[in-house]
């Protein structure tokens, strides 16, 4: 992937597929590191499954295609000397408490660090595609922060869906303005 924001879009689609109705996309960065975490309340993965999912070449799956999303994200982190961790609770064992959190640590000054890229576009794309999910996005940059919470927007919007074009444009400008305000590029 050319930008980490594309990995984020891809990883968040896993959460959508897992049936989550709340998904948090949290970024935290300083001069040296960037931590990306995507947390959902979807169906979760068993420990057994978790082991296989991180390594495309060590899979027990035979009947289905090997996924590349998580391995690619993991590689992007590891090539900066960072790492990726997954914690997950299955629906079977944890019922209402189920869910998955994927956290990746990146060293920004490493020569193999991939730029974050157009994160606003990723967030807007996620909301447009799944307007019924409760999205919570927060990006902390040193002491500043940028974010949006779709439940807050919904309380103002009432019946108007989040994928209404004017609403989508508003969200895009809302985030861009916050980034401009703190001089982030």
């Amino acid at each position: 992937m050319k930008e980490l924001s594309l990995n984020i879009l891809d990883i968040a689609q896993n959460s959508v597929k897992a049936g989550a109705d709340k998904i948090d996309v949290l970024l935290e960065e300083n001069e040296e590191t960037l931590v990306i975490s995507i947390a959902d309340n979807g169906c979760g993965m068993s420990e057994e499954f978790l082991k296989n999912v991180q390594d495309p070449f060590c899979t027990t799956r035979t009947t289905r295609k090997v996924g590349m999303g998580i391995p690619l994200f993991k590689l992007a982190a590891e090539q900066t000397e960072g790492n990726l961790t997954i914690t997950s609770k299955t629906k079977e064992k944890f019922s209402d408490e189920s869910g998955t959190t994927i956290t990746a640590l990146f060293y920004k000054n490493h020569i193999d660090f991939t730029v974050l890229g157009d994160i606003v576009s990723t967030i807007v794309t996620l909301i447009q595609g799944q307007p019924d999910i409760h999205w919570h996005f927060n990006h902390k940059i040193n002491k500043d922060e940028v974010g949006v919470d779709t439940d807050e927007l919904k309380s103002v919007l009432g019946d108007v869906p989040l994928d209404n074009f004017e609403v989508i444009c508003w969200i895009k400008e809302y985030l861009e303005e916050q980034y401009n305000e703190i001089g982030y590029n």
């Binding site: 594309l6 879009l9 891809d10 999303g69 447009q128 807050e152 927007l153 103002v156 019946d159 303005e177």
Partner: protein, 121 residues
């Protein structure tokens, strides 16, 4: 500064408009957004459709949606266009420029862009 008051204004405006959107748009545009699609450039393609469809005044007629893997990675970004009573049209190797033409010629004027379309997938 953007404010929630602007969202409230959008809501107001929508309420005064007779809404005929009942999930039955005449045309459905589906963009493949699995790993291979995203890596190949599906995000700007999706956004070009969302913007272009609205700019062309087709919002009530065309729904732009996302899906997982369409299954032919080497043709990504792939876009499928479904229209009641017509055969599905599949576009391969899409980009934002090509989207403009598809909106104008296919979605607006009803003539698929044969040049970008692939058959038998």
């Amino acid at each position: 500064m953007k404010s929630l008051a602007e969202l409230a204004a959008i809501r107001e405006k929508m309420q005064n408009k007779v809404v005929i959107r009942d999930g039955s748009s005449e045309i459905r545009v589906v963009v493949g957004m699995a790993t291979c699609g995203i890596a190949a450039g599906a995000r700007p393609v999706l956004n070009a459709f969302v913007e272009g469809v609205n700019e062309a005044g087709l919002a009530d007629k065309v729904a732009v949606t996302q899906t997982g893997c369409i299954g032919v990675c080497q043709f990504e970004p792939i876009v499928e266009v479904f229209e009641a009573g017509k055969e599905k049209v599949t576009y391969a190797h899409m980009d934002a420029e090509k989207v403009k033409r598809v909106i104008q010629e296919h979605l607006k004027n009803g003539k698929p862009v044969a040049e970008y379309a692939i058959t038998n997938v």
